[in-house]
């Protein structure tokens, strides 16, 4: 169903200034669902997301999509831990990805209005985006990412520093996105969220993929002592 997946990484590595940020990593991601990327701080979660998304340089190995790379880059989106707001109104922010794809302004704005309503921003279409609250900004970022109907959506700790209500609303949006056939790859340090959302787990430790597998199995019976320790809340390095 997806023209993008499977995503296959072989010994993918990202280095900067002689230091290995992440890798070598081998993984294969296919079909709709939510992949949660967990691991201690500094394990390279953000670096891995950037590497897969194509915004960090691949220093070694390869990353292959099922389609040519230019096509792949247009069928994916990225949501940052701290959302970047264009200095425009809410509706113009959400319409922006459509506008850069050449969708006429009127159509882009009407689609953006629908998208805003889906994430609960219907009442603030003409507000200045940089003045929204943290939770509203993240919802806007999600609407903006989802409006291009990406096959793959990367999310880097999307709920960090949000209150419970905003987190619940955002998780609801993510679950809807999964239901409409997308693959979400989400990093989080909130194990509750990882259990709630995860279909598969990637456990990253010191830049390497330490363990991975279906989420239910990983959380019920972690195979390695480090994964077990991490899930118990011990400090793992």
């Amino acid at each position: 169903m997806s023209r993008l997946l499977p995503l296959v990484a072989k010994a993918a590595t990202s280095r900067r200034g002689g230091r290995t940020l992440v890798g070598p990593v081998d993984l294969r991601i296919d079909g709709p669902g939510i992949t949660v990327l967990i691991g201690p701080n500094g394990a390279g979660k953000t670096s891995l997301l950037n590497l897969l998304h194509g915004t960090a340089r691949l220093s070694g190995g390869r990353i292959d999509w099922a389609c040519p790379i230019d096509e792949a880059r247009h069928a994916q989106a990225f949501v940052f831990q701290r959302p970047v707001m264009l200095r425009r109104s809410v509706v113009d922010n959400i319409a922006y990805p459509l506008r850069i794809r050449g969708v006429p302004r009127r159509e882009a704005l009407s689609r953006a209005e629908t998208a805003a309503a889906q994430v609960g921003l219907a009442g603030m279409l003409n507000r200045d985006a940089p003045r929204l609250s943290g939770g509203e900004q993240q919802k806007l970022a999600l609407a903006r990412a989802l409006i291009i109907a990406p096959d793959v959506l990367f999310l880097d700790e999307p709920c960090a520093s949000l209150d419970g209500r905003a987190m619940r609303e955002i998780e609801q949006i993510l679950i809807q996105a999964r239901a409409s056939g997308r693959r979400l790859i989400l990093s989080t340090h909130d194990m509750g969220q990882a259990r709630r959302l995860g279909d598969d787990v990637l456990f990253l430790l010191r830049g390497r993929l330490h363990d991975s597998g279906p989420a239910a199995e990983f959380f019920a019976r972690p195979r390695t002592s480090r994964a077990r320790a991490f899930l118990q809340g011990d400090i793992v390095e």
Binding site: T55, R73, A77, R87, D128, R131
Partner: protein, 234 residues
Amino acid sequence: MVDIWNGVSQAFWLMVTLDSALVEISLRSLRVTFTALLIASCIALPLAAFLAVRRFRWRRGIIALLNALMGLPPVVVGLVLYVILSRSGPLGVLGLLFTPTAMIIAQTVIIVPLIASVAHQSIRELWAEYHDLLISMNVTEGQKIRTLLWDSRRALLTAALAGFGRAIGEVGAIMIVGGNIDHATRVLTTAIALETGKGDFGLALALGFVLIGLAVAVNLSIHWLGRTERGDRW
């Protein structure tokens, strides 16, 4: 003190009676400076955005040069243009010396570095903010520059107004390339210089107050049009 008071009252009467000479040179001042501002903005703003987003070998050098050229002495610009535009100069055949066009060229040369430097500062900050998002969205170079210019439009307005301020008050260069010819190239600043030289301080001061008034009025109306001070954060 008496001179200043004379100047104020004379300025008042000149404006109230819409003195034809005053109106003529004021309009010429505005026409020359606005034309120069328009041309300079068309050059400086895209240049500023380009310098903010592109990494190339001479980038730092060009930025440093632009910053240095903000303090370009107008008299020197006028002198160099004079040599270029004079009958025996390389562009002498165009016959531009002592025309308003020559004055427009001079003012453009003077304010391009100023507008580009100030605009570059704010575009660079905006680019730092937008960088990750725009890279992630895979936008083209042209889209990137258009987005940055549009979203920093209020800061760019300020840059343009700084340019306007420098151009409308400039006298050294336009005196040399314009020649202060009555009914042809006389503008407010050159008229002030002339009247001061003649010892007619009252008229000179009157022209000075008109000049300041014009600059303030233009700034206020552009701010009002751009709604810069209406509670918007940017």
